[in-house]
Symmetry: C2
Subunit: 143 residues, 2 copies
DNA sequence: GTCCGTGCAAAGCGTTTGCAGCTTA
DNA sequence: TAAGCTGCAAACGCTTTGCACGGAC
């Protein structure tokens, strides 16, 4: 795992450094997407600026993917460090489930090629109400 | 169109005000998602704070949807003010094409129900290389 | 006439940047 | 050893908040 991570850095002409290892480790231990600030807190020995520079680099290299909730970006590891997946979020209780579907992936590739694009990455975020919430609150509040 | 917009506000117990009309108009005129700052610039007579409060309200009411590029949120009108669609972005030249597919929509609903979720909203963002860019630069640069 | 929403101004954060010194390759 | 990366610290810009006034219903 770490070997792959370091290989990616090296093959892009980038150095393997303490901050980069620390951020990668923090993302590896996390079981859900993290805010920038959360990543910084998990790597207290690393300067904030380095965390940001590292996250920017990881995004460029495709090591991580970024999604948004509200107006806040969340980062998590991408393939091959984490199985490719998407998110299904309950808007009532906030629970996040991971979703995967080869059929979906195939369809996205086809959709892209219809537009004469070569698909390189994508995000799919679903939002709704989970089973237990819709059972407990059958009448949704308007706001 | 505006009538629908004002109906949504009223039926949620919200007032129809000058800032809300101005932000809605700016979004209506835009042909692509806008950054918060861009919306503020398009509504110079409205205080920034009101623009932010309005955008937050619109998101809650489902009048707008938000996507992210890099770490920057972009807002655009949602249904019924704009046909439901997704984005296909060229990572070389930045061109954005709108994508729609009923089959995709159906599949997402099915996927959600497999996880016992009632799907209420979703975003799909595709990123890749458009036809003209892949013709001009057949060998992608590593960074 | 009430209540909600706005404008104003200030504070609060998250993010970015310049630079000298250290680490990596 | 040379180039790249980090830490530090300051600056920057976006976003949020409190409050008194004004507008919507």
């Amino acid at each position: 795992m770490h070997q792959d991570f370091e290989s990616i850095l090296k093959s892009s002409g980038q150095s393997v450094t303490k901050p980069r290892r620390a951020v990668f480790d923090a993302l590896t231990r996390a079981d859900s997407p993290l805010k920038n600030g959360e990543i910084a807190k998990l790597t207290p020995s690393i300067d904030r600026a380095s965390v940001y520079r590292t996250l920017e680099l990881f995004a460029k290299l495709g090591i991580t993917t970024t999604t948004i909730r509200g107006w806040t970006p969340f980062t998590e590891l991408a393939e091959p460090f984490k199985p490719h997946h998407h998110h299904m979020i309950c808007e009532r209780c906030g629970v996040v489930e991971e979703i995967e579907s080869d059929t979906l992936e195939d369809m996205l590739t086809i959709l892209a090629s219809r537009h004469h694009f070569t698909l390189r990455s994508h995000t799919v975020e679903l939002s709704g109400v989970c089973a237990s919430c819709s059972k407990n609150l059958p009448q949704p509040t308007s706001l």
